[in-house]
Symmetry: C2
Subunit: 507 residues, 2 copies
């Protein structure tokens, strides 16, 4: 299994093993080609694999223990699935001949994996184990990429396996979309009143550049999906506004549009239905076009359209580097301004800012060139793990983890892996001591925000002591109360080798 992973180009395995995975762990040591990264919980391991896969553009492996171990990692696999991130999940399970005795940890592992994965298999034959691994890797990277789960009964781990490694599992060739679809899209763009909505792979640097040429030449609105897998952005790159989380705000961004061209994303939809409220931000009677189906290449589609319409290159404005804001107590806007001013070139920003951080994306469009990765599936607790995985995938780059406090508490255990691996992650903890997003939704629903509802949204009794929690996991931490303090702490953090946490204290 380990040799097959290495032959398929997998070089990293996030591990949270139990008894049934010990042979695999020993083989990792003997083989020596994969970096093994211990994680304290399964959700850290799967979230790290999501961050790794989005950053490296290839899958990491995750090693989990039996059905309940897989269950603990499912929420971040859900996020990976929504991002279309390639991930290989290996679940050690009971020996084939022991499972019928229904030992305490036994459960229906296959049923648990199915909702999150595009490929689920239970290995039954040691002679086919290498092939099973190769097929899992190939499935995870075949467009549209996603999560592949291989359940491995423990007796297969200690049986003699086939030494034959086919060496498959390499990226499939890009599939071109059908010319007829492209012609329909080209005519819609020429008619005007169109919007180009980019998501998934279409937020890659080359796709964004092509889409910007299309938009600039035809007058179409260029937008990013509300769920950003990863986008290359910042000064000198096209500014792509993100569709708002709030469905009414998003509807304003699409007002007057007659055609929406989707690349790498489905049709936009409200995160939740609310009584009497719209379910999508789309204008009445809008035409939805999907020039490239899932599995077909968005890049080839955009290239063909640029050529068909003769769109010249766009010179992006070289906006000046913004100065930090004047000193003063922190609010959401000041934090975004400070971040814009001090973000190092080639940084990777991980965005689980939720309500407090919602304005940060558009506010940092002119920061130094950087990549931006965001919570995609709405299952909170992805930020700290994703930052961990991104740092493993990009060792030379600074990682900035924009983390809301309520969601950060789900997977704070990831800080330990950051300390253990000496990762260059700066966690910028946005501390409002509440689940503010829930209070906001309750207001929109007209519900009385008192009693148990209000209590369930409060994180101030006791307040989470983030500095102590970070220190408890070996991560140095400090608190910024003003914009000048925040700028100084951020800049110092980018000069460090290991991780740190900065709590932005709002008044």
């Amino acid at each position: 299994m380990v040799s097959a992973l290495a032959a398929a180009g997998v070089d990293t395995c996030f591990v949270n093993p139990g008894t049934s995975e010990l042979h695999f762990m020993a083989a990792l040591g003997r083989n020596g080609q994969l970096r093994s990264v211990p994680c304290l919980t399964e959700s850290v391991a799967t979230g790290a694999a999501d961050g790794y896969g989005r950053t490296a553009g290839k899958p990491a492996a995750v090693l989990l223990h039996c059905g309940p171990g897989l269950a603990n990692g499912l929420a971040n696999l859900h996020n990976a699935r929504r991002a279309g991130t390639p991930v290989i999940v290996l679940v050690g399970d009971h020996a084939t001949y022991h499972q019928p005795l229904d030992p305490p940890l036994a459960t229906d592992t296959m049923a648990l994996a199915a909702p999150m994965a595009k490929f689920v298999r239970r290995s039954v034959d040691p002679a086919r184990l290498a092939a099973d691994v190769e097929e899992a890797v190939a499935a995870s990277i075949a467009p549209p990429s996603g999560v592949a789960v291989l359940v491995v009964p423990s007796d297969l781990s200690w049986s003699a396996a086939s030494a034959h490694i086919a060496g498959s599992g390499r990226p499939a060739r890009a599939v071109a979309p059908p010319p007829g679809r492209l012609e329909v899209a080209a005519r819609a763009l020429m008619r005007g009143n169109a919007a180009i909505l980019l998501g998934g792979e279409a937020l890659g640097e080359r796709c964004v550049t092509l889409a910007s040429r299309l938009a600039s030449h035809t007058g179409a609105r260029l937008l990013a999906s509300a769920q950003v897998r990863r986008i290359a952005r910042g000064r000198g790159r096209p500014a792509v506004p993100r569709l708002a989380y709030d469905v009414d705000e998003a509807a304003l961004m699409l007002a007057g549009v007659e055609t929406v061209l989707l690349f790498g994303t489905g049709s936009p939809v409200a995160f939740f239905a609310l009584p009497g409220r719209r379910q999508t931000p789309l204008p009445e009677g809008v035409t939805i076009l999907t020039p490239a189906d899932p599995g077909q290449s968005c890049e080839l589609a955009l290239e063909a359209l640029v050529e068909r319409l003769g769109c010249p290159p766009v010179q992006e404005p070289g906006n000046p580097h913004l100065a930090p804001p004047p000193d003063g107590p922190l609010d959401s806007q000041k934090v975004a301004q400070v971040l814009s001013a001090v973000l190092p070139r080639d940084a990777i920003v991980i965005d689980e800012g939720v309500s407090l951080g919602r304005t940060f994306f558009n506010a940092t469009a002119n920061a130094a060139p950087h990549d931006w990765l965001q919570l995609t599936g709405g299952a909170i607790g992805s930020g700290i793990p994703m930052a961990t995985g991104a740092a493993i995938a990009a060792p030379g780059r600074s990682i900035v983890s924009l983390q809301a406090d309520g969601s950060g508490l789900y997977t704070l255990q990831g800080l330990w892996t950051q300390a253990r691996e000496r990762l260059r992650v700066t966690t910028l903890l946005l501390s409002n001591r509440s689940y503010a997003i829930l209070l906001g939704e309750a207001h929109r629903l007209g519900l009385a925000t008192e009693g148990p509802l209000a209590d369930a949204c409060r994180l101030d009794d006791p307040p989470a002591g983030w500095l102590q929690l970070a220190n408890g996991f070996g991560v140095p931490a400090s608190r910024a109360g003003t914009s000048a303090e925040l700028a100084a702490l951020l800049e110092a953090s980018f000069a460090r080798e290991g991780p740190c946490l900065i709590e932005a204290a709002f008044t």
Copy 2:
């Protein structure tokens, strides 16, 4: 829904809500009959419901958010399922008319629930919502009790519901086992060389007393299952040794036995199969008898057998209160001796001591009378949440949470709820800074314990700073290095109102 829960006797709801549960939260406030207990993660909420259900003997409700929220809580529902704990899980999900649009948080919630639950239903009709709740409660408590999951689309929460509450959901009457089975069991006991193995409900105080009379009168060995849901024990109560975790040790405890009578548990089986090792601790050719099927009353079965065989009451020896051990550096044995000496009457011990705490059960048989609850399903991370739920169910009693460090890190967020609710929980943290159970298994498997395998078992780089972590969640904490320090800190903790954590530092 809230009225139906209250009418069925449910008085506690552990909550980790999202947008789709806000109407339920508002209704909790209006109704006022259920205690709402906020939890920072879903695994804390489900584990707390397990601890509550085992302690109170009736179900608590758990409120979770959509499929990924349920996924986060599944591991502790697995433990509850293995314990046979009644639990009502309410999962708010997307509106019926919104789900087909596949919004970001949508997944197959029903498929995720199925492996852990004896009852799974998706409500579709607001007029039937109260009845759905009543049926879920009834299913969870009907013998054999277990987990019931009700998925509630959010539009049902804001639709007009039927006000009719049938008030069902009361405990079902105990079903007597068939007389023929009992006669076979009685004859086996009379033949001798029998063992009586108690698990689940058969570890209740009355069942243990009856089983002790049977064993004492017939010479049968009396044993508890390796997975203890809850047992009443201590001075003046029958001492019931627990079947060893290690299958070879367990086999020694059953050596020479010709018949095993199972009450409330399945046939014992090794936790894991290992190459060339036995799969069960049972002697070759043993006869397994199950006097009461699942759903039939173990208590009625034991009563009938005691009467049939004319077993007189047993006078349990009133062993003297043991003095604490002499002062000195801590080891596993000294911690158990200190605990035995200082445990308050009517304490509840939550045992997730894993490898370090494995000897504690038998070593505390002569402590003051207490209840003992243990990890049942092998999904680690149950201890801190179970202690939280037990404290909610038994406000006047002292809770001692025996917690190994590796498993404690899975769900340390539960400490926050202990602080928030001012619960009388003393977490006794057994700190060996490793996943020692894995290293032990690796040795038994003959695997080289170095490289990635050894690294994945180490918790010392960086060491988890448990005092800081506890303080970060608002729980006072201290460290004991000697047996005298530990005894003093434990005794002080039992006099406090709120929670605390004591780290037993091993040398």
